[in-house]
Symmetry: C2
Subunit: 175 residues, 2 copies
Amino acid sequence: MQAALDLFGERGFERTTVVEIAERAGLTERTFFRYFADKREVLFAGASMLQDVVVQAVVDAPHSATPLDAAVAGIEAASAVLQDGRELSRRRQAVINANRELQERELIKLAALGTAIADALRRRGVKDPSASLSAEMAIAVFKISFGRWVSQSGQRELRSIIRASLNELKGVATS
Amino acid sequence: MQAALDLFGERGFERTTVVEIAERAGLTERTFFRYFADKREVLFAGASMLQDVVVQAVVDAPHSATPLDAAVAGIEAASAVLQDGRELSRRRQAVINANRELQERELIKLAALGTAIADALRRRGVKDPSASLSAEMAIAVFKISFGRWVSQSGQRELRSIIRASLNELKGVATS
DNA sequence: GGGCGGATGTCAGTTACTGCCATGACTATA
DNA sequence: TATAGTCATGGCAGTAACTGACATCCGCCC
Protein backbone atom coordinates (compact mmCIF):
# COMPACT_ATOMS: atom_id res chain seq x y z
CA MET A 1 0.00 0.00 0.00
CA GLN A 2 2.83 2.39 0.84
CA ALA A 3 4.74 1.56 -2.34
CA ALA A 4 1.61 2.04 -4.42
CA LEU A 5 0.68 5.39 -2.91
CA ASP A 6 4.22 6.66 -3.40
CA LEU A 7 4.41 5.53 -7.00
CA PHE A 8 0.96 6.87 -7.87
CA GLY A 9 2.05 10.21 -6.43
CA GLU A 10 5.26 10.23 -8.42
CA ARG A 11 4.10 9.04 -11.84
CA GLY A 12 0.35 8.94 -11.63
CA PHE A 13 -1.92 5.90 -11.45
CA GLU A 14 -2.00 5.03 -15.13
CA ARG A 15 1.70 5.27 -15.66
CA THR A 16 2.44 2.94 -12.78
CA THR A 17 2.33 -0.79 -13.46
CA VAL A 18 1.53 -3.43 -10.89
CA VAL A 19 4.92 -4.98 -11.56
CA GLU A 20 6.56 -1.72 -10.44
CA ILE A 21 4.49 -1.58 -7.25
CA ALA A 22 5.34 -5.16 -6.44
CA GLU A 23 9.03 -4.63 -7.10
CA ARG A 24 9.20 -1.63 -4.83
CA ALA A 25 7.48 -3.60 -2.10
CA GLY A 26 9.87 -6.50 -2.61
CA LEU A 27 7.26 -8.87 -3.99
CA THR A 28 6.02 -10.21 -7.30
CA GLU A 29 3.02 -9.16 -9.33
CA ARG A 30 1.27 -12.43 -8.55
CA THR A 31 1.54 -11.82 -4.82
CA PHE A 32 0.12 -8.33 -5.23
CA PHE A 33 -2.99 -9.82 -6.78
CA ARG A 34 -3.34 -12.24 -3.87
CA TYR A 35 -3.73 -9.30 -1.50
CA PHE A 36 -5.66 -6.89 -3.72
CA ALA A 37 -8.42 -7.87 -6.10
CA ASP A 38 -7.21 -5.32 -8.63
CA LYS A 39 -4.79 -2.46 -9.04
CA ARG A 40 -7.25 0.13 -7.72
CA GLU A 41 -8.12 -1.73 -4.59
CA VAL A 42 -4.71 -1.08 -3.06
CA LEU A 43 -5.87 2.47 -2.29
CA PHE A 44 -9.09 1.33 -0.60
CA ALA A 45 -7.92 -1.44 1.68
CA GLY A 46 -8.96 0.48 4.81
CA ALA A 47 -12.52 1.01 3.66
CA SER A 48 -14.04 -2.08 5.24
CA MET A 49 -12.61 -1.24 8.65
CA LEU A 50 -14.02 2.25 8.36
CA GLN A 51 -17.38 0.81 7.41
CA ASP A 52 -17.45 -1.30 10.57
CA VAL A 53 -16.78 1.78 12.66
CA VAL A 54 -19.57 3.66 10.95
CA VAL A 55 -22.13 0.89 11.31
CA GLN A 56 -21.29 0.41 14.99
CA ALA A 57 -21.79 4.10 15.66
CA VAL A 58 -25.15 4.10 13.90
CA VAL A 59 -26.29 1.13 15.94
CA ASP A 60 -25.04 2.75 19.15
CA ALA A 61 -26.62 6.15 18.52
CA PRO A 62 -29.03 7.22 21.28
CA HIS A 63 -32.51 5.86 20.99
CA SER A 64 -33.88 9.38 20.78
CA ALA A 65 -31.84 10.27 17.69
CA THR A 66 -33.72 10.78 14.44
CA PRO A 67 -32.74 8.50 11.53
CA LEU A 68 -30.75 11.27 9.88
CA ASP A 69 -28.94 12.14 13.09
CA ALA A 70 -28.11 8.49 13.73
CA ALA A 71 -26.74 8.15 10.21
CA VAL A 72 -24.63 11.27 10.65
CA ALA A 73 -23.39 9.94 13.99
CA GLY A 74 -21.93 7.12 11.91
CA ILE A 75 -19.97 9.37 9.62
CA GLU A 76 -18.83 11.43 12.59
CA ALA A 77 -17.30 8.28 13.98
CA ALA A 78 -15.51 7.82 10.67
CA SER A 79 -14.26 11.37 10.85
CA ALA A 80 -12.68 10.66 14.23
CA VAL A 81 -10.64 7.89 12.62
CA LEU A 82 -9.55 10.11 9.74
CA GLN A 83 -8.90 13.26 11.73
CA ASP A 84 -5.31 12.47 12.64
CA GLY A 85 -4.20 11.48 9.17
CA ARG A 86 -5.05 14.51 7.14
CA GLU A 87 -1.78 14.56 5.23
CA LEU A 88 -2.26 10.94 4.25
CA SER A 89 -5.87 11.61 3.26
CA ARG A 90 -4.75 14.56 1.23
CA ARG A 91 -2.08 12.67 -0.70
CA ARG A 92 -4.47 9.81 -1.31
CA GLN A 93 -7.24 12.12 -2.46
CA ALA A 94 -4.93 13.94 -4.84
CA VAL A 95 -4.18 10.62 -6.52
CA ILE A 96 -7.86 9.70 -6.69
CA ASN A 97 -8.90 13.09 -8.03
CA ALA A 98 -6.41 12.74 -10.86
CA ASN A 99 -7.88 9.50 -12.14
CA ARG A 100 -11.35 8.59 -13.24
CA GLU A 101 -11.14 4.87 -12.55
CA LEU A 102 -10.14 5.61 -8.98
CA GLN A 103 -13.07 7.98 -8.61
CA GLU A 104 -15.35 5.18 -9.72
CA ARG A 105 -13.94 2.91 -7.07
CA GLU A 106 -14.31 5.61 -4.43
CA LEU A 107 -17.93 6.12 -5.38
CA ILE A 108 -18.82 2.46 -5.10
CA LYS A 109 -17.14 2.31 -1.70
CA LEU A 110 -19.24 5.25 -0.59
CA ALA A 111 -22.35 3.63 -2.03
CA ALA A 112 -21.56 0.45 -0.11
CA LEU A 113 -21.15 2.54 3.00
CA GLY A 114 -24.54 4.06 2.31
CA THR A 115 -26.28 0.71 2.05
CA ALA A 116 -24.53 -0.43 5.24
CA ILE A 117 -25.83 2.66 7.02
CA ALA A 118 -29.32 2.03 5.65
CA ASP A 119 -29.15 -1.55 6.94
CA ALA A 120 -28.07 -0.33 10.36
CA LEU A 121 -30.95 2.12 10.42
CA ARG A 122 -33.38 -0.65 9.56
CA ARG A 123 -32.01 -2.59 12.52
CA ARG A 124 -33.01 0.44 14.56
CA GLY A 125 -36.54 0.00 13.29
CA VAL A 126 -36.45 2.70 10.63
CA LYS A 127 -38.61 1.86 7.65
CA ASP A 128 -37.92 2.47 3.97
CA PRO A 129 -37.66 4.80 2.21
CA SER A 130 -36.64 6.81 5.28
CA ALA A 131 -33.70 4.51 5.97
CA SER A 132 -32.32 4.74 2.43
CA LEU A 133 -32.92 8.47 2.19
CA SER A 134 -31.28 9.20 5.54
CA ALA A 135 -28.29 7.10 4.55
CA GLU A 136 -27.97 8.86 1.21
CA MET A 137 -28.14 12.24 2.91
CA ALA A 138 -25.47 11.24 5.38
CA ILE A 139 -23.23 10.15 2.51
CA ALA A 140 -23.88 13.45 0.76
CA VAL A 141 -22.86 15.32 3.90
CA PHE A 142 -19.74 13.21 4.17
CA LYS A 143 -18.70 13.69 0.54
CA ILE A 144 -19.02 17.44 0.73
CA SER A 145 -17.48 17.76 4.18
CA PHE A 146 -14.55 15.50 3.41
CA GLY A 147 -13.86 17.40 0.20
CA ARG A 148 -13.75 20.67 2.07
CA TRP A 149 -11.64 19.25 4.83
CA VAL A 150 -8.88 17.95 2.56
CA SER A 151 -8.81 21.02 0.35
CA GLN A 152 -8.89 23.72 3.01
CA SER A 153 -5.68 25.32 4.18
CA GLY A 154 -6.77 25.86 7.79
CA GLN A 155 -6.99 23.42 10.66
CA ARG A 156 -10.74 23.23 11.05
CA GLU A 157 -11.81 19.84 12.32
CA LEU A 158 -13.65 17.44 10.04
CA ARG A 159 -16.26 16.89 12.71
CA SER A 160 -17.15 20.55 12.86
CA ILE A 161 -17.38 20.76 9.07
CA ILE A 162 -19.76 17.80 9.12
CA ARG A 163 -21.96 19.48 11.72
CA ALA A 164 -22.11 22.66 9.71
CA SER A 165 -22.89 20.80 6.48
CA LEU A 166 -25.65 18.86 8.17
CA ASN A 167 -27.25 22.08 9.34
CA GLU A 168 -26.97 23.49 5.84
CA LEU A 169 -28.64 20.38 4.46
CA LYS A 170 -31.50 20.63 6.89
CA GLY A 171 -31.97 24.24 5.92
CA VAL A 172 -31.91 23.48 2.21
CA ALA A 173 -34.45 20.69 2.60
CA THR A 174 -36.95 22.83 4.50
CA SER A 175 -36.71 26.15 2.70
CA MET B 1 -25.48 -0.92 -28.30
CA GLN B 2 -28.27 -3.33 -29.16
CA ALA B 3 -25.87 -6.21 -29.72
CA ALA B 4 -24.11 -5.49 -26.43
CA LEU B 5 -27.28 -5.29 -24.38
CA ASP B 6 -28.54 -8.53 -25.86
CA LEU B 7 -25.29 -10.39 -25.26
CA PHE B 8 -24.91 -9.06 -21.73
CA GLY B 9 -28.42 -10.27 -21.03
CA GLU B 10 -27.72 -13.71 -22.48
CA ARG B 11 -24.27 -14.48 -21.05
CA GLY B 12 -23.57 -11.71 -18.59
CA PHE B 13 -21.16 -8.82 -18.93
CA GLU B 14 -17.96 -10.62 -17.96
CA ARG B 15 -18.52 -13.60 -20.17
CA THR B 16 -19.08 -11.45 -23.21
CA THR B 17 -16.02 -10.30 -25.13
CA VAL B 18 -15.83 -7.15 -27.17
CA VAL B 19 -15.01 -9.26 -30.21
CA GLU B 20 -18.35 -11.02 -29.81
CA ILE B 21 -20.25 -7.75 -29.54
CA ALA B 22 -18.53 -6.40 -32.61
CA GLU B 23 -19.20 -9.56 -34.58
CA ARG B 24 -22.89 -9.54 -33.78
CA ALA B 25 -23.07 -5.90 -34.84
CA GLY B 26 -21.23 -6.71 -38.07
CA LEU B 27 -18.11 -4.75 -37.15
CA THR B 28 -14.63 -5.37 -35.82
CA GLU B 29 -13.32 -4.93 -32.29
CA ARG B 30 -11.26 -1.95 -33.42
CA THR B 31 -14.33 -0.12 -34.66
CA PHE B 32 -16.14 -0.79 -31.38
CA PHE B 33 -13.40 1.04 -29.53
CA ARG B 34 -13.71 4.01 -31.88
CA TYR B 35 -17.30 4.52 -30.74
CA PHE B 36 -17.00 3.55 -27.08
CA ALA B 37 -14.09 4.43 -24.83
CA ASP B 38 -14.33 1.06 -23.14
CA LYS B 39 -16.50 -2.03 -22.92
CA ARG B 40 -18.69 -0.58 -20.16
CA GLU B 41 -19.42 2.66 -21.92
CA VAL B 42 -21.63 0.97 -24.49
CA LEU B 43 -24.36 0.81 -21.85
CA PHE B 44 -24.10 4.49 -20.97
CA ALA B 45 -24.05 6.18 -24.34
CA GLY B 46 -27.31 8.02 -23.71
CA ALA B 47 -26.15 9.59 -20.45
CA SER B 48 -24.81 12.82 -21.88
CA MET B 49 -28.06 13.55 -23.70
CA LEU B 50 -29.97 12.93 -20.50
CA GLN B 51 -27.63 15.27 -18.67
CA ASP B 52 -28.36 18.06 -21.14
CA VAL B 53 -32.08 17.61 -20.57
CA VAL B 54 -31.62 17.76 -16.82
CA VAL B 55 -29.44 20.86 -16.87
CA GLN B 56 -31.83 22.68 -19.17
CA ALA B 57 -34.75 21.93 -16.88
CA VAL B 58 -32.85 23.20 -13.84
CA VAL B 59 -31.99 26.42 -15.64
CA ASP B 60 -35.59 26.83 -16.81
CA ALA B 61 -37.19 26.16 -13.42
CA PRO B 62 -39.35 29.04 -12.20
CA HIS B 63 -37.53 31.83 -10.47
CA SER B 64 -39.51 31.24 -7.32
CA ALA B 65 -38.38 27.61 -6.98
CA THR B 66 -36.07 26.74 -4.09
CA PRO B 67 -32.68 25.23 -5.00
CA LEU B 68 -33.85 21.75 -4.06
CA ASP B 69 -37.06 22.09 -6.06
CA ALA B 70 -35.14 23.38 -9.07
CA ALA B 71 -32.75 20.44 -8.86
CA VAL B 72 -35.62 18.00 -8.63
CA ALA B 73 -37.28 19.69 -11.60
CA GLY B 74 -34.17 18.56 -13.47
CA ILE B 75 -34.55 14.92 -12.60
CA GLU B 76 -38.26 15.08 -13.30
CA ALA B 77 -37.37 16.14 -16.82
CA ALA B 78 -35.11 13.10 -17.05
CA SER B 79 -37.94 10.92 -15.85
CA ALA B 80 -40.10 12.14 -18.69
CA VAL B 81 -37.49 10.89 -21.15
CA LEU B 82 -37.24 7.51 -19.44
CA GLN B 83 -40.93 6.98 -18.77
CA ASP B 84 -41.74 5.37 -22.11
CA GLY B 85 -38.87 2.92 -22.10
CA ARG B 86 -39.38 1.06 -18.87
CA GLU B 87 -38.76 -2.36 -20.38
CA LEU B 88 -35.48 -1.17 -21.82
CA SER B 89 -34.52 0.46 -18.53
CA ARG B 90 -35.36 -2.73 -16.73
CA ARG B 91 -33.27 -4.96 -18.95
CA ARG B 92 -30.39 -2.53 -18.78
CA GLN B 93 -30.60 -2.24 -15.00
CA ALA B 94 -30.67 -6.00 -14.57
CA VAL B 95 -27.37 -6.19 -16.43
CA ILE B 96 -25.86 -3.39 -14.37
CA ASN B 97 -27.05 -4.83 -11.07
CA ALA B 98 -25.34 -8.11 -11.89
CA ASN B 99 -21.91 -6.56 -12.33
CA ARG B 100 -19.82 -4.44 -10.04
CA GLU B 101 -17.80 -2.67 -12.72
CA LEU B 102 -20.99 -1.52 -14.37
CA GLN B 103 -22.28 -0.24 -11.05
CA GLU B 104 -19.12 1.80 -10.72
CA ARG B 105 -19.70 3.34 -14.11
CA GLU B 106 -23.31 4.08 -13.26
CA LEU B 107 -22.27 5.82 -10.06
CA ILE B 108 -19.76 8.08 -11.75
CA LYS B 109 -22.36 9.02 -14.35
CA LEU B 110 -24.75 9.95 -11.56
CA ALA B 111 -21.99 11.89 -9.82
CA ALA B 112 -21.29 13.79 -13.03
CA LEU B 113 -24.99 14.52 -13.28
CA GLY B 114 -24.87 15.83 -9.73
CA THR B 115 -22.04 18.24 -10.44
CA ALA B 116 -23.82 19.39 -13.60
CA ILE B 117 -26.93 20.12 -11.53
CA ALA B 118 -24.84 21.98 -8.96
CA ASP B 119 -23.30 24.08 -11.74
CA ALA B 120 -26.74 24.89 -13.10
CA LEU B 121 -27.90 25.92 -9.65
CA ARG B 122 -24.90 28.23 -9.29
CA ARG B 123 -25.90 29.82 -12.57
CA ARG B 124 -29.21 30.51 -10.87
CA GLY B 125 -27.33 32.35 -8.17
CA VAL B 126 -27.34 29.61 -5.56
CA LYS B 127 -24.22 29.66 -3.39
CA ASP B 128 -22.22 26.74 -2.07
CA PRO B 129 -22.65 24.55 -0.15
CA SER B 130 -26.37 24.86 -0.85
CA ALA B 131 -25.86 24.19 -4.53
CA SER B 132 -23.84 21.02 -3.97
CA LEU B 133 -26.13 19.77 -1.23
CA SER B 134 -29.29 20.36 -3.23
CA ALA B 135 -27.76 18.55 -6.19
CA GLU B 136 -26.72 15.61 -4.03
CA MET B 137 -30.19 15.38 -2.55
CA ALA B 138 -31.76 15.43 -5.99
CA ILE B 139 -29.48 12.60 -7.07
CA ALA B 140 -30.40 10.66 -3.93
CA VAL B 141 -34.06 11.10 -4.76
CA PHE B 142 -33.44 9.95 -8.30
CA LYS B 143 -31.45 6.86 -7.31
CA ILE B 144 -34.10 5.68 -4.90
CA SER B 145 -37.04 6.56 -7.14
CA PHE B 146 -35.54 4.98 -10.23
CA GLY B 147 -34.74 1.82 -8.31
CA ARG B 148 -38.33 1.56 -7.15
CA TRP B 149 -39.69 2.32 -10.56
CA VAL B 150 -37.77 -0.43 -12.36
CA SER B 151 -38.37 -3.05 -9.69
CA GLN B 152 -42.06 -2.48 -9.06
CA SER B 153 -44.63 -4.62 -10.79
CA GLY B 154 -47.29 -1.93 -11.13
CA GLN B 155 -47.58 0.93 -13.57
CA ARG B 156 -46.95 3.83 -11.23
CA GLU B 157 -45.27 6.70 -13.03
CA LEU B 158 -41.66 7.57 -12.30
CA ARG B 159 -42.62 11.19 -11.87
CA SER B 160 -45.07 10.42 -9.12
CA ILE B 161 -42.52 8.22 -7.32
CA ILE B 162 -40.03 11.09 -7.47
CA ARG B 163 -42.56 13.49 -5.97
CA ALA B 164 -43.31 11.10 -3.15
CA SER B 165 -39.62 10.45 -2.45
CA LEU B 166 -38.91 14.15 -2.37
CA ASN B 167 -41.62 14.65 0.22
CA GLU B 168 -40.21 11.79 2.27
CA LEU B 169 -36.78 13.37 2.09
CA LYS B 170 -38.06 16.70 3.27
CA GLY B 171 -39.77 14.98 6.15
CA VAL B 172 -36.68 13.01 7.11
CA ALA B 173 -34.53 16.13 7.05
CA THR B 174 -36.80 18.13 9.31
CA SER B 175 -37.89 15.54 11.86
C1' DG C 1 14.22 -36.07 10.60
C1' DG C 2 9.85 -35.82 8.32
C1' DG C 3 5.61 -34.29 6.94
C1' DC C 4 2.28 -30.16 6.72
C1' DG C 5 0.02 -25.71 5.88
C1' DG C 6 0.45 -21.26 4.25
C1' DA C 7 2.78 -17.69 1.75
C1' DT C 8 5.28 -16.85 -2.31
C1' DG C 9 7.27 -17.53 -6.98
C1' DT C 10 6.96 -18.98 -11.92
C1' DC C 11 4.74 -19.28 -16.09
C1' DA C 12 1.44 -19.46 -19.61
C1' DG C 13 -2.86 -17.75 -21.17
C1' DT C 14 -6.92 -14.50 -21.96
C1' DT C 15 -8.79 -10.07 -22.82
C1' DA C 16 -9.26 -5.10 -22.70
C1' DC C 17 -7.41 -1.41 -24.91
C1' DT C 18 -4.04 1.50 -28.05
C1' DG C 19 -1.14 3.15 -31.92
C1' DC C 20 -0.04 2.85 -36.63
C1' DC C 21 -0.83 2.15 -41.25
C1' DA C 22 -3.72 0.49 -45.21
C1' DT C 23 -7.96 0.48 -47.79
C1' DG C 24 -12.23 1.63 -49.67
C1' DA C 25 -16.30 4.71 -50.15
C1' DC C 26 -17.99 9.15 -50.78
C1' DT C 27 -17.51 14.18 -52.08
C1' DA C 28 -15.98 18.45 -53.81
C1' DT C 29 -13.72 20.66 -57.43
C1' DA C 30 -11.25 21.41 -61.68
C1' DT D 1 -14.40 12.45 -65.94
C1' DA D 2 -10.25 12.66 -63.16
C1' DT D 3 -8.10 13.81 -58.93
C1' DA D 4 -7.51 14.84 -54.42
C1' DG D 5 -9.19 14.90 -49.83
C1' DT D 6 -11.88 13.24 -45.94
C1' DC D 7 -13.86 9.79 -43.17
C1' DA D 8 -15.20 5.24 -41.54
C1' DT D 9 -13.35 0.89 -41.16
C1' DG D 10 -10.07 -3.05 -41.14
C1' DG D 11 -5.73 -5.33 -39.93
C1' DC D 12 -2.09 -6.03 -36.89
C1' DA D 13 1.16 -5.80 -33.36
C1' DG D 14 1.96 -4.49 -28.71
C1' DT D 15 1.13 -3.47 -23.58
C1' DA D 16 -0.69 -4.44 -19.18
C1' DA D 17 -4.27 -6.16 -16.07
C1' DC D 18 -5.74 -10.23 -14.28
C1' DT D 19 -6.23 -15.62 -13.66
C1' DG D 20 -5.31 -20.56 -13.07
C1' DA D 21 -2.12 -24.32 -12.38
C1' DC D 22 1.83 -25.94 -10.43
C1' DA D 23 6.34 -25.62 -7.95
C1' DT D 24 8.94 -24.12 -4.03
C1' DC D 25 10.17 -22.52 0.33
C1' DC D 26 9.68 -21.47 5.28
C1' DG D 27 8.15 -22.10 9.92
C1' DC D 28 6.16 -25.47 12.89
C1' DC D 29 4.61 -29.62 15.10
C1' DC D 30 5.38 -34.35 16.14
